[in-house]
Amino acid sequence: MSIQVIKAGILDTVQDAGRYGYQQLGINPGGVMDRTAMRMANALVGNEAGAPVIEMHFPAAEMLFEETMLVALSGADFSPRINGEETPVHKPVCVRKGAILSFGKQLKGARTYLAVKGGWKADNWLHSYSTHLTVKAGGQAGRALGKTDRLFPQQLQPYGLLNKESIFEALPWQAAVSAFYQERSLRMIQGYEFDTLTPAAKEILFSSSFTISRESNRMGYRLQGPPLLTTQTTELISTAVTRGTLQLLPDGQLIVLMADHQTTGGYPRVGHLISADLASLAQKNAGEPFSVSVVSVQEAENILHRQEMDLQQLQNACNFRLAQYLLGV
């Protein structure tokens, strides 16, 4: 009935869209790093957009299917294989009982998402299935997936493969996701302390390339670039920070807060990456460069609006194709 981890990955956790409503208690939202990938993986198997998925980093887990299931991978391409044979990403795949999913190389991106039709069963803590590693709650017993862990779909629906001989079958359509990811340039709106940057620092911010350092994880990415100077060095009173906030550290380097960020912070907030670009950042690895440009709040809203409409269209198309397909089988 389940999928069993036969070899643990470096950090594989159950996540959903995150845990909101508790940041006043210092409980951060968490959730998937790449929301676009979660939505795509879920849409490909006909789930609600926010159904729990498994977020995997590289090297990722190896898993044994103990039941025939309809699954999909979206986000990063870690060259997935089923019983050693290449299987595509961004496509629904029907996998037969007894097959083993493994990953070869990290071809593109930083996080891949595995969705199963019906969504994964997981612990719900404060209205979310996301794994909160610090307090050890939610997801799979509040921790990363380990060897012998079993995950079950919330409801198992029987699937048949067309060919009685095949181990897996990729269904004949693929979600075109590349348009949702920015390669080199990410956009921000000005933060509350933007004007503490010197005019020269502002110019450097928008003309330089920043590289993601190795000290980057689900909490935040430390960036390496030319140091940015401020006109004042007074310590700030702590205030709330959020996903995408660009904080300036005392040494002039930037940090971008990600899914597991602390809820408050005291460093100057020079900007906030726009919501529409956070999925792109979530798929960047240490060593990758990008540049930053500034947009107005209204532009940021317009960009997200267009992205949401395109995503919705793609989700609808995936759902429609799958419904047609399942009727036909």
Partner: protein, 205 residues
Amino acid sequence: MALYQYLRGRKIAGVLDLIPAYSSLSVVYDLAALIKKNPAQSVYAMMESQLQEAVRFVEIQTVTVSNKVTIPVCYDLSLAPDLSELAALHQLTIEEVIQLHTAPTYRVYMIGFLPGFAYMGSVAERIRTARKSSPRTKVPAGSVGIAGEQTGIYPLDSPGGWQLIGQTPLPLFDATRTDPCLLQPGDEVKFCSISLTEYHQLKKT
């Protein structure tokens, strides 16, 4: 704080989180959902006008304290690694430090850093002490600390740089409770000094 309490009661559509801090209130809203509902409008402008309206309704005097909480703290030196040094620094006896720390009623201004970590103030001037120059790699859960004019309690084992002057046997955070955090923003807190024996007894229950 008054605005925070007012907005929590009002439940504005699309608002995901309200995060009060010392001198700010941050509002986190679901931009994607609000854009879908109001495609022709600026969501930011809409949210701004709703918040300005709320500010007009709220008077600073209307802060209602959500809870009064008394927290037992054991100041025994075995649980208070920085207490002697802190007393010496301020030329006070340990009893005087305890007296100065337990005398005020503190307010929870903000919760941050860790789930349930309450930033409380204000600490008596005579015992205000800067953070340690190099943070400890592990502070045990329940440790009571001072950082400048703030006092707080570590809800979980964690690295930390506050000056540790005691420990409480009460769990500040418990994921299995419906309300996982003992303290809420706006709460009034008093500390009372307990003996090591009482500490161990309370810790068991």
